[in-house]
Symmetry: none
C-alpha cells in the first residue's frame, strides 16, 4: 500500500475538506473587487499558450476577482482569444526576437512593467507554458526576485521548476514559495538538492529533507497521492480524482493553489497564528478541489475528459465541498 501511494501512509492523510472550508472566504455584499484575490500567471510563449490560460482561468473559476497573465508578445493575442476574462500583458520576449545589444534595455523594461503591478498581487503562478528560452528565463528570474522583495507568494510549476532547479537561490529560504513538481520534476529536484535518487520506500522522509534542503519552501509532490511538506510536517491528500492524465491538469493546480494560498494568508491575518502554515493549507485545498473536479469530469466524459472539462467542474466541486451560505452574502 505504502509503495502504491508513493510513500504516503494513512496517518498523514489530512482532513483536506475542513482545511479548504476554513480558508475559503465568506461572500459578503459589502466586499469590493479584489478582496477575493488578485492572481498573476507568468508564462506563455510562442510555443505554449494553453497552459497559462488554464492556470489563470482556473483562478477565476475558483473565486479570485482578477487574474492576470504576463507572457510573450506572440502568445498574448492567442491567450486573450481564449477568454475575455483575463488581463494579458504582452511584455516578455524570447531570444529569437531580441538583438543582443537590446537585451539589457528590454530586461529593464520588463521589470519596470511588472513593478507597476507587483504589490497588488496576492500570489503569482510562475511557469505554466513558460518555455526554456535563456533570455526569457533570465527576465523571469528578475521577476521572482522582485516578488520575493515584496513578500508576494509564488507557486512554481512546469518550466518555472526547470528554472529554480538550476537556480535554487531564487527560492531557497523563502517560506512563501510553493513548488508543485510532477514525477520527473521531482526527480530532478531531488538529484539537485539532495544529490541522490528518489527513494520511494522512504518517500516521506526524503520529501521532508528536500523541503528542509530548500530552506522551508513548501513542496506539493503530485502523484497518486499528493504529498505536501514544508520541511516540518508531511500531509497527504489521496481523495479520489481521475485516472486520465491529459496534459494541463497541473496548470489548473497551479492557479488553484495560488488562490487558496492567498485565501489562507488572509484567513491567518484575521485569525492570528494558525495551526498550519498558510502555504501548506493552500496546497491541501488546491489538491482536494482538483481531485473533486477531475472525478466529476471523468464521470461524465470518461476517456475523452480534457483539461477544459475539468475546469468546467471547478465551480460545482467547490460548491459541494464548501457551499456558499446564503446568510453570508445576504448580510443576515
Amino acid at each position: 500500500m505504502q509503495s502504491l501511494l508513493s510513500g504516503a501512509s494513512p496517518s498523514m492523510e489530512v482532513d483536506a475538506v475542513s482545511i479548504l472550508k476554513s480558508i475559503t472566504p465568506s461572500l459578503e455584499s459589502s466586499k469590493h473587487k479584489g478582496q477575493a484575490g488578485k492572481i498573476a500567471v507568468v508564462g506563455g510563449c510562442r510555443e505554449y499558450t494553453g497552459a497559462p490560460y488554464f492556470s489563470a482561468i482556473s483562478a477565476l473559476k475558483i473565486g479570485a476577482d482578477l487574474s492576470h497573465v504576463f507572457c510573450t508578445k506572440d502568445a498574448a493575442p492567442v491567450i486573450k482569444g481564449y477568454s475575455p476574462e483575463l488581463i494579458v500583458h504582452p511584455i516578455l520576449e524570447e531570444s529569437y526576437s531580441v538583438r543582443d545589444e537590446d537585451k539589457k534595455s528590454i530586461s529593464a523594461k520588463v521589470i519596470e512593467e511588472v513593478d507597476k503591478w507587483m504589490e497588488r498581487f496576492d500570489c503569482l503562478a510562475i511557469g505554466p507554458g513558460l518555455g526554456r528560452d535563456p533570455f526569457l528565463l533570465d527576465c523571469v528570474s528578475n521577476i521572482m526576485k522582485r516578488a520575493r522583495q515584496s513578500n508576494v507568494p509564488m507557486v512554481i510549476d512546469g518550466d518555472g521548476l526547470f528554472l529554480v532547479t538550476n537556480s535554487l537561490d531564487l527560492i531557497s529560504g523563502y517560506p512563501l514559495a510553493v513548488l508543485t513538481p510532477n514525477v520527473n520534476e521531482y526527480k530532478r529536484l531531488v538529484q539537485k538538492v539532495l544529490q541522490c535518487e528518489v527513494n520511494d520506500r522512504d518517500g516521506t522522509q526524503q520529501l521532508l529533507s528536500l523541503a528542509k534542503g530548500i530552506g522551508g519552501a513548501t513542496i506539493l509532490r503530485k502523484g497518486e497521492s499528493d504529498l505536501i511538506s514544508n520541511g516540518e510536517t508531511v500531509h497527504a491528500v489521496s481523495s479520489f480524482g481521475s485516472p486520465r492524465r491529459c496534459g494541463g491538469q497541473g496548470d489548473i493546480l497551479s492557479g488553484s493553489v495560488a488562490v487558496f494560498v492567498s485565501w489562507a494568508r488572509q484567513a491567518a491575518d484575521k485569525a492570528g497564528e494558525p495551526s498550519m502554515s498558510p502555504t501548506v493549507m493552500g496546497c491541501i485545498a488546491g489538491s482536494v478541489l482538483l481531485r473533486k473536479a477531475a472525478s466529476h469530469a471523468f464521470e461524465s466524459s470518461r476517456r475523452s475528459t480534457l483539461t477544459t472539462d475539468i475546469i468546467e467542474h471547478l465551480g460545482r466541486s467547490l460548491e459541494e465541498l464548501c457551499p456558499v451560505l446564503v446568510s453570508q452574502y445576504m448580510g443576515h
Copy 2:
C-alpha cells in the same frame, strides 16, 4: 454485393470491436502523464488550419495524454485558437516566406526543433492540411526520415500521401507506416506503384499487391467498407457510419489511427507476439470508432452533420464500444 463494397467479401469482415477492446489500455490511478500516448500531427499551413486541428483534437478526445501540432508560422496562432489543449509548434515555412539563400539554414532549424521532440512521440500523423509547397514538403520529407530512424510509426494522409506517392522510398519497406488513402489518393498510389488502373472486380488482390509493392506498409483504403492490408491479409470494416461526406472526417481518422497504433504497439509489447500486426489493429480500431461516432452525429444532426459534431461523439462512442471498468481505475 461484392462490387458495392469495393471488393470486400463478407469473409474479410473483422471483429473490429473486439480488436479495439483488446488494445485500449486500462485506466489506472498509478499511471502518469504521457503513458496513454503522445501524438504529433505534422500539418497546417497558410491555407489549411482545420485539418490538423481535427486530427490532433481527435487524438486527445480518444484518450491520448498529449497532442502536438507542427505547422507553419501563419497557421499556428489560428490552430492554437481552436483549442488550448493542443501544443502547437510554429516551425514550418512555405516558399513564399523564404529566400532561396536561407532555405538550407531554415531546413536545418526545422529538423533541429523536431529532433528535440521526436523520441518522445508514440506516433506521428503526417499530412492533415499540409499543402503542397515544395520547400515545405522537402522539410517534411526530412522529418519523415528522422521518424523512421527513430522507429516512430507514421500515419500518412492527405497531402502527406501526395508527398509519399511521389517519393515512395520515404515509406517503402517501413512496416510502421500507415497510409489512409481516399478514392482519388488510392487511384494515384495504384497508378504509381502497380502502374495500372484501380480494378474493383479484384479489389482485394490489388490492395494486397499494392501493400506488398510498398514493402509492407499498412494501407487503410477508405470507402463504403474500409479495407486494410499490410500485404499479408486483407480485413474489412463495414459497420454503419454516416452518409454525410463533409470534409474533415479523414482527419479524425488519421488522429484516431495514430492513437490506436500507439496503443496496439503498447499492448503487443506487454503480451508478446500478437496474432495481428499492431498497425493493422490500429487501423481497424480507428475505422470502427469513426464509423460509430459518425453514425451518432448523423442521428442527431442529419444533413447538417459536420466534422466537429462527429468529434463531439468520439468519447461517447468509445465508451459504448469499450466501457471504462470502474474497478480498473479505483485500484480494486
